[in-house]
C-alpha cells in the first residue's frame, strides 16, 4: 500500500529533474527495485497507471512508460568470507548454513534514469 506514497515521491522527483533539464515530456522511467525493498512491483505499476491516467494531457506524463528492473538479493557469509544468493527468507549460507547478517544487494529502490524531451 505504501507503493502509492513511493510513486508520489517518484512523480515529484521525475518532474523536478525534467524541469531542471529544460525538458517537457517524460518518455520512460527506469526504476530499480530490490527483492528486499519491501515493494510489490505490481502495486508500483498500478500506482504508475493511476498517476499517468490522472495526469493532465498538457503535463509531462501522458507518453510515459515505466521500466522496472528487479535486483535479486545478495548476502555475505562472514564464516565463508563469500557472497551468496539467498534461497530462503532466513538468508542461510548454502555452504555452511550460517544465517547471514549482511545484505549486500536487494534493498535498492531508485530512479535510475529518465528519458525526456
Amino acid at each position: 500500500m505504501h507503493e502509492l506514497a513511493l510513486m508520489a515521491e517518484l512523480q515529484q522527483l521525475a518532474e523536478e529533474q525534467t524541469r531542471q533539464a529544460g525538458a517537457r515530456h517524460i518518455h520512460r522511467l527506469r526504476v530499480r527495485v530490490g527483492a528486499l525493498a519491501g515493494v510489490d512491483a505490481d502495486a508500483l505499476r498500478l500506482a504508475f497507471e493511476v498517476l499517468v491516467a490522472n495526469g493532465s494531457p498538457e503535463g509531462p506524463w501522458p507518453a510515459a512508460t515505466l521500466d522496472l528492473e528487479a535486483v535479486p538479493a545478495r548476502c555475505f557469509c562472514s564464516d565463508c568470507a563469500q557472497p551468496f544468493t539467498p534461497i530462503d527468507v532466513i538468508h542461510a549460507c548454502p555452504r555452511c548454513g550460517l544465517l547471514s547478517r549482511q545484505v549486500l544487494k536487494g534493498r535498492e529502490l531508485e530512479l535510475v534514469s529518465l528519458e525526456v524531451s
Partner: protein, 244 residues
C-alpha cells in the same frame, strides 16, 4: 519543416529528440534526509529515540502505558500514529506520558516529515526518552527511517509463531523484539520455543524480551536495557547550540 520526411509539420519539427538523464536517486532520499535531520535533532535534545512497529492489536499502546508508568523519574514523550482518532494519545496522557497524536488519514505508515512536525509540538523539558509508535502494519512502515536510534518490533502471543518468517523485512530491521502477552501462553497454546526460533532465524542480532503489558512481566528488564542506552540528561543541550 519536419527533418525526417520534409512534410512541413511544425509540431513534429518542434519535438527535440529524447535524451536520457542518468539519476540513480533513491525514492526514499527525501525521507532519509529528513530522518537524518530528525536523528540529529533528537540527539541534540539528549533523547534516546525508539520506533515501535507491529501489527494492529499486538499491544504497542498498552506497553507504552506501562513504560510511561515505570520510567524512572522523568516523563516519556510519545509520538503516536494511527489512521484515525486520538484515543492512543489520550491513553498515553493518562499514563503520564507527553503524547502527540499523528492522524495519518489514508497513509499506512509514518514518514520522517510527519514525525518532525509532531516533534515540534512536544514539551521536552526533563525528557530523555522519545517513543514513536508507528501505524499498526507489518509491511509499509519498514522502509521509512524516522530518525530513530533503535527499532523495536512487537509480536504478541496468539498472533502466529511464523509471523517473523511471513514478514521478514520488519523483524530483520529490529534492534529488539518484544514478545508481548506472555501471560497468555497457556490459554492460546502458543508455541513459544518455535516463535523464538523463528525470531532468531530472521533477526539473529536482535535482543528479545518476553513481556506482558498486563501482568508487568519482563518490563523491568526492558526498562533497564533502555536506561543503559539513554544519554545523560541535558547532555545534548550542552553540546549543541540549538533552540526551537
Amino acid at each position: 519543416m519536419c527533418g525526417t520526411c520534409g512534410c512541413g509539420d511544425r509540431d513534429i519539427e518542434a519535438q527535440p529528440a529524447p535524451r536520457v538523464l542518468a539519476l540513480q536517486r533513491s525514492l526514499l532520499s527525501r525521507n532519509d534526509a529528513q530522518a537524518a535531520a530528525n536523528r540529529a535533532h533528537f540527539r541534540a535534545h539528549g533523547l534516546l529515540s525508539l520506533n515501535v512497529l507491529s501489527a494492529p492489536g499486538s499491544g504497542k499502546t498498552a506497553l507504552l502505558e506501562q513504560l510511561a508508568r515505570r520510567w524512572p523519574q522523568q516523563p516519556i514523550a510519545v509520538i503516536v500514529g494511527d489512521q484515525a482518532t486520538d484515543n492512543d494519545a489520550r491513553r498515553l496522557d493518562d499514563a503520564g506520558a507527553r503524547a502527540v497524536q499523528i492522524r495519518t488519514g489514508e497513509l499506512c505508515h509514518l514518514e520522517a516529515d510527519l514525525v518532525d512536525r509532531a516533534f515540534r509540538q512536544l514539551e521536552l523539558a526533563g525528557v530523555n526518552l522519545l517513543v514513536i509508535e508507528n501505524v499498526g502494519n507489518l509491511v509499509c512502515p519498514t522502509a521509512f527511517d524516522l530518525g530513530e536510534e533503535l527499532r523495536l518490533a512487537v509480536l504478541a502471543v496468539g498472533e502466529g509463531e511464523d509471523k517473523p518468517l511471513k514478514y521478514p523485512g520488519l523483524f530483520r530491521s529490529a534492534d529488539a523484539v518484544l514478545l508481548n502477552k506472555i501471560d497468555l501462553l497457556e490459554a492460546t497454546g502458543f508455541d513459544r520455543a518455535l516463535a523464538l526460533a523463528n525470531l532468531r532465524a530472521i533477526a539473529p542480532a536482535a535482543t528479545v524480551f518476553e513481556v506482558s503489558a498486563r501482568s508487568g512481566a519482563g518490563l523491568d528488564a526492558l526498562v533497564a536495557w533502555l536506561q543503559q542506552r539513554c544519554r545523560p540528561a541535558g547532555h545534548g543541550h550542552q553540546l549543541h547550540d540549538h533552540h526551537h
